[in-house]
Symmetry: C2
Subunit: 236 residues, 2 copies
């Protein structure tokens, strides 16, 4: 039985971190909310599941429903060899993923610093202030941390953990990809100081399954409804 | 060898979620950054550890250093019987914890909606707007979700998962405690619509080890340097 991924059908958003893992694994899955009636099914599951997710994305594997992006990746990583089998390596991978989640949440709040329930236009003044801090302080701090842990990986700096791809590598690729869409000027400048992160981003994009996925209609283009939005005024 | 918890020594903050789990478990631990030279040791570990944490809190267990609150609790939960042993129950507990982490991050941003690097006073206008949305929309939405999953627990509504205490119960207690400090008026009103959450909060406070801990000098009082801050103007 294929996995069913439920996420908003017109954006990459947080669902994309799960899609990338499913694609790299070659897993049998349905992007269920993009099917006919899919959003209605998604809303019913959120309302009525025994373990209701607080928000999309969530993954349905038979009768099991799992929410929270990092928890979904913890589950998929163990099943599809996208994380080390040893407990310490598995936990380190998850810790990195949680840090990527924090980074991504901050990226979201650059365009929604006041409320998710308001339009960007209604919080633009606040967004300008928050984005300036994000560009000047937060992007450098996060990228430096990722570059440091790549440099410190005893198996080499091509992967975040060990000598093989993990879901954390896929997620860092996506964070860099999304932020490069949203903040092209700031990211171009800051990535110069994080060469290992830039190299990992390039390498993931060239993996055969990821490359095929990115060129396929399954990859939703970035847009100004999603997590990563390009508003030129926020890029300084 | 005792665990060493590293966190800012003058606030509860995110470290408190770990302290509560260690206290309930009766684990042998040192609140290491509160010792003499502890903050200097913490900063050195963050700089030089093989697996450097992005930020405190982190836990040192022998040579293993674990950052990210939810990852620390995943680790401690399995070792100290604060989470179900079965994988599905364990993952559900973790999913709830990640949702509490999201709630807590939003609570933090009510007083720091622009930048952690700025004082509250320098982002007070934005804080007023964000807090209004948080009180009116986000607190009710999160508390309703916690109340729903308590109601839907097949083992009864006294615990979030199964029929025994988990680290998620401890963390929900702390989230309610912190938010009741920060937003006493809003929380008093909203908890009326989440009676199971209110009952869980009361029950956790009465557990012998938690009760003893809360009355001890090990429990740092809430203050306006931490995650949960009481600024009356933000409580509406």
């Amino acid at each position: 039985m294929p996995y069913e991924l439920y996420y908003w059908p017109t954006i990459q958003g947080r669902g994309e971190f799960v899609r990338l893992a499913l694609e790299e694994a070659g897993a049998d899955y349905i992007d269920a909310a993009r099917e006919s009636e899919g959003v209605a099914v998604m809303m019913r599951l959120m309302e009525h599941a025994g373990h209701p997710p607080f928000a999309p994305p969530f993954l349905k594997d038979g009768d099991t429903v799992i929410g929270q992006t990092a928890a979904i990746l913890l589950y998929l990583g163990a099943r599809h060899d996208l994380a080390p089998k040893d407990p310490e390596g598995g936990l380190w991978t998850h810790q990195i993923q949680l840090t990527i989640a924090d980074f991504v949440a901050e990226a979201h709040d650059t365009h929604h610093p006041v409320a998710v329930s308001l339009y960007y236009e209604d919080q633009k003044a606040e967004a300008l202030r928050r984005s300036a801090d994000f560009r000047q302080n937060r992007i450098p701090k996060f990228l430096d941390w990722f570059d440091t842990i790549l440099a410190r990986n005893p198996s080499g700096d091509r992967h975040l953990v060990g000598n093989r791809l993990t879901y954390a590598d896929l997620s860092l690729f996506q964070a860099v990809e999304g932020l490069s869409y949203a903040f092209p000027k700031a990211m171009k400048a800051t990535l110069k100081d994080a060469p290992r992160v830039a190299a990992l981003h390039e390498a993931v994009a060239q993996r055969p399954r990821i490359k095929a996925y990115l060129a396929s209609p399954r990859r939703i283009p970035f847009n100004e409804e999603g997590l990563f939005r390009h508003y030129p005024e926020l890029d300084g």
